[in-house]
C-alpha cells in the first residue's frame, strides 16, 4: 500500500483493521461525443474521483441525473474501460483482462430496471445460472441446479419459480431474480444501481430489508447508487455526493443529513421531500437557481460555482481539492470552513 505511486489526494491511510475492500484512485471516465463533422469532445462523466469502500459497509452514492454516479459504478466494475485511474481490489490493482475476469467473480451488479435487465426468453433458472456457466463454477448439472435453488432461497423465491419466465413475475420478484443472479458467483462486493427506484413503495421496503439481510448473512459490501435520498440514508453507512462528475462530499450517513458541509449537499438535503407534514412546513429550503450545466460544457473551477450561493472569484478558477476537513469527512469546497464556521 505504502509504495503507491499515486499523486492524487489519498483520502485515508487505512489502519490494519480498516483495510478497504476497494480503493478508487483518480478514476476518470470520458466519453467521446461527436459534436460535428470529424469533431468530437470528451464528455467527462466521471472526472477524477478517489475514495475507499470498506469491507462490509454500504457506501451510498447520490447525485442528480447526469452527475456520473451510474458511470462511476460501472467503471469500478470495469464494464467500461476507465480512461484513467485505478481500481484496487484487496490491495491488487486491476490492470489486465485476466484481472478483470478474476475481479468479476468477486464483484457484481444489480441493475435498476427489473423489466429490461432480464432476458424475456430465458427461464429464471437460466438467468440465475448464466454467471455460473460463464465462470465455470459447477462441476455437474446437479451441482448447478442445487446452487440455483440455494440462491433462490436466499432471495425468497420458491423452487417452483425456477421454470418460469421473467414476465410472469411482479417487479419486486423480478428484482429478486436480478439479485440472485448477482449473488451467483458468491461475490463480496455488489454495485446496486438504483435497485429499488422502479418498485412500488410497499415493495421497496421488502427489497431494502433483503439487501440488509443478505449483507449480514453473506458479509457483502455494497456500493448503493440511488437518487432517493431517504432510501440511501436508510441503507448506507457512509454517503458520497457527486455533482457533474466530481465527488463533492463524503461522510457518515447520519452526519451528511444532519450537518452537510458542501453547499450542494446542503441544497440537496433540504430538497428531500420528507413524508411528514409538520417537518415539511418547518423546513427552510435552500432553493438552487439555475440548471445543472451540461457535462459537455462543464464550467471551469468548481463545477458547482454557477449555482452556488457562496461562490467567489477563486471558485470560478480553481477546482477545490477533495480534502479531509474533519476525521472521516471529505469535502471539495474552498470555503467549507468559512461557511460552516
Amino acid at each position: 500500500m505504502t509504495q503507491d505511486t499515486i499523486t492524487a489526494p489519498v483520502p485515508t491511510e487505512p489502519s490494519a483493521k480498516e483495510q478497504p475492500l476497494i480503493r478508487v484512485r483518480s478514476l476518470k471516465q470520458y466519453f467521446n461525443i461527436n459534436t460535428g463533422f470529424f469533431q468530437s469532445r470528451p464528455l467527462k462523466a466521471v472526472d477524477d474521483i478517489s475514495f475507499d469502500i470498506r469491507a462490509g459497509e454500504t457506501l451510498g452514492l447520490v447525485g442528480e441525473s447526469g452527475c456520473g454516479k451510474t458511470t462511476a459504478g460501472r467503471t469500478i466494475l470495469h464494464l467500461y474501460q476507465p480512461t484513467a485511474g485505478e481500481i484496487i481490489y484487496r490491495g491488487k490493482t486491476i490492470r489486465t483482462r485476466e484481472d478483470v475476469q478474476e475481479f468479476r467473480t468477486h464483484a457484481t451488479m444489480v441493475f435498476q430496471d427489473p423489466y429490461s435487465s432480464l432476458d424475456p426468453r430465458m427461464t429464471v433458472e437460466d438467468i440465475i445460472g448464466e454467471p455460473l456457466d460463464v465462470h465455470h463454477i459447477y462441476r455437474n448439472p446437479k451441482e448447478r441446479r442445487e446452487r440455483i435453488l440455494e440462491l433462490m432461497e436466499h432471495v425468497g423465491l420458491n423452487s417452483e419459480h425456477a421454470a418460469r419466465y421473467a414476465h410472469e413475475f411482479s417487479g419486486g420478484q423480478r428484482q429478486r431474480v436480478g439479485i440472485a443472479r448477482a449473488l451467483a458467483v458468491s461475490p463480496d462486493f455488489i454495485v446496486c444501481d438504483e435497485p429499488v427506484s422502479a418498485l412500488d413503495v410497499s415493495i421497496q421496503a421488502q427489497v431494502i430489508n433483503m439487501f440488509d439481510e443478505l449483507q449480514d448473512k453473506l458479509g457483502l459490501t455494497y456500493l448503493f447508487i440511488a437518487h432517493d435520498l431517504l432510501v440511501v440514508r436508510h441503507i448506507s453507512d457512509r454517503i458520497a455526493v457527486m455533482y457533474l462528475g466530481k465527488m463533492v462530499e463524503l461522510a457518515d450517513s447520519g452526519e451528511i443529513y444532519s450537518r452537510p458541509l458542501h453547499p450542494y449537499s446542503k441544497a440537496l438535503m433540504s430538497a428531500v421531500p420528507v413524508p411528514d407534514p409538520k417537518a415539511a412546513r418547518a423546513n427552510q429550503r435552500i432553493t438552487l437557481t439555475g440548471e445543472i450545466p451540461s457535462p459537455l460544457n462543464a464550467p471551469g473551477g468548481c463545477p458547482f460555482h454557477t449555482r452556488c450561493p457562496y461562490a467567489n472569484a477563486r471558485c470560478t478558477e480553481l477546482m477545490p481539492e477533495f480534502r479531509e476537513l474533519e476525521k472521516g469527512r471529505f469535502v471539495a469546497c474552498h470555503r467549507a470552513e468559512e461557511i460552516n464556521g
Binding site: E64, S65, S170, G172, Q173, D200, V201, S202, I203, Q204, A205, Q206, I208, N209, D212, H227, L229, L230, V231, R233, H234, S253, G254, Y257, A267, L268, S270, A271, V272, P273, V274, P275, D276, P277, K278, A279, A280, R285, T287, L288, E291, I292
Partner: protein, 336 residues
C-alpha cells in the same frame, strides 16, 4: 356546494381478459383553493380517477357509474361539447413526463398560444402577451427569447414549468397534476413544488395532486386520499392521515418508508404482492396482504366510516376498536 363533487365514480377497462375495474366507487369533494393529494401505488386507480374526471380515458375504458359534478354541472354523460368547454379551460391537467407532452416540432410560444387562442377570445397579439406573462409567472428567464425556442432547448424542469404555464394560461378552477415531479431530480422537484404552492396562493385554484410519493404529499397537500385497488381506503386532512392513520394499508405504507426517525431500525414492509385487478377478492382488497386481517375482512368489504369531522376510513379494525372501547366502558359501568 363544493367545486367538484365526485360520487361513486366507477371506471372499467374492457380487455380481452375481462373487465378491469380500475376505479370502484370513489367519492370525494374538492373545495375551491384546496390542495388534494391522491396517493397510491401503480394500479391503485389514482390516475384513472383523474382521467375519468377529465374524460380522457383510453378507448377501452369507460365510466360505468357514478357522477362528477363540477361547479353544479354534471359531467358524466354531458357529452364532448360540454367537456370541451371544461377541459383545458376550467380543469387543466399536467402529466408526468414533460419530455413527451410537448410537440417537438413547434416552438414553445406557438404551443402556449394555441391553448390561449383556443379557450379565450384574445387575438394573437394579446395571446402572445399572455404567454410571455405566463412564462414569467413560472419563473422562466428571458421569456421573450424562450418563446421562440423549441422543446429540445429546454431542460426537464423547464419543460415542466412550460407545461404548468400552459395549464394555467386560462386560469382554471382546478389543476390536476399527475405525478408532475416523478421524472425530475430532487432539487428540480423542490423548485416545481415550491412554484405550484406559490401560484396556488396567487391564483387560488384548487389542485389535485396525484403521486405515489408520500413526501410530495406532505409538502403540498391540505387533504389526502389514499387509494388501493381502485377504491379509497382512507381520506382526511394531511395531518390526520400522517399522524393518525386509520386504515391498515395507510399504516403499512407509513411504516414501510424510510424516514428521519427509523434509520437504525428495520423497515416494516407490507407483505405479499400488489393486487391483480382481474382477480379481486370478495372482501377488503387489502385483506390478503394485511397482517391484522380478521374473518370479516375476507368476507365483506368495509364501507367508509367517519373517524371524525376531518377523517374517514374503510377498515373493519376501526369498528372493532370502537366495539372494544364500548365493551370496556360497559364493563366499567357495571362494576361501579
Amino acid at each position: 356546494m363544493a367545486l367538484l363533487e365526485v360520487r361513486n365514480l366507477s371506471t372499467s377497462f374492457f380487455t380481452d381478459e375481462g373487465e378491469v375495474r380500475a376505479v370502484n366507487g370513489v367519492s370525494f369533494d374538492l373545495e375551491r383553493g384546496r390542495v388534494l393529494g391522491i396517493v397510491g401505488e401503480s394500479g391503485s386507480g389514482k390516475s384513472v380517477t383523474a382521467y375519468s374526471i377529465m374524460q380522457i380515458l383510453a378507448s377501452t375504458g369507460r365510466i360505468v357509474g357514478g357522477s362528477v359534478r363540477f361547479d353544479g354541472q354534471e359531467l358524466v354523460g354531458a357529452g364532448e361539447k360540454v367537456m370541451k368547454t371544461v377541459r383545458g379551460n376550467r380543469i387543466s391537467i399536467i402529466f408526468q413526463d414533460p419530455m413527451t407532452s410537448l410537440n417537438p416540432t413547434y416552438t414553445i410560444g406557438r404551443q402556449l398560444m394555441e391553448a390561449i387562442l383556443l379557450h379565450t377570445d384574445r387575438n394573437r397579439e394579446q395571446a402572445h402577451e399572455r404567454a410571455v406573462e405566463m412564462l414569467r409567472l413560472v419563473n422562466v428567464n428571458e421569456p421573450e427569447k424562450r418563446m421562440k425556442q423549441y422543446p429540445y432547448e429546454f431542460s426537464g424542469g423547464m419543460r415542466q414549468r412550460v407545461m404548468i404555464a400552459m395549464a394555467l394560461a386560462c386560469e382554471p378552477d382546478i389543476l390536476i397534476a399527475d405525478e408532475p415531479t416523478t421524472a425530475l431530480d430532487v432539487t428540480i422537484q423542490a423548485g416545481i413544488l415550491e412554484l405550484m404552492k406559490d401560484i396556488q396562493k396567487k391564483i387560488g385554484m384548487a389542485i389535485i395532486m396525484i403521486t405515489h410519493d408520500l413526501g410530495v404529499v406532505a409538502q403540498l397537500c391540505d387533504e389526502v386520499i389514499v387509494m388501493y385497488a381502485g377504491a379509497i381506503c382512507e381520506q382526511g386532512t394531511a395531518d390526520e392521515i400522517f399522524y393518525n392513520p386509520k386504515h391498515e394499508y395507510t399504516k403499512g405504507l407509513l411504516r414501510s418508508i424510510p424516514t428521519a426517525s427509523n434509520t437504525d431500525q428495520k423497515l416494516e414492509p407490507i407483505s405479499g404482492t400488489p393486487i391483480d385487478l382481474l382477480n379481486m377478492p370478495k372482501g377488503c382488497p387489502f385483506a390478503p396482504r394485511c397482517d391484522a386481517a380478521m374473518k370479516i375482512c375476507i368476507r365483506s368489504r368495509c364501507e367508509r366510516m367517519e373517524i371524525n369531522e376531518h377523517h374517514a376510513a374503510a377498515c373493519w379494525q376501526n369498528l372493532r376498536e370502537e366495539m372494544l372501547r364500548a365493551g370496556v366502558e360497559q364493563k366499567g359501568g357495571e362494576q361501579s
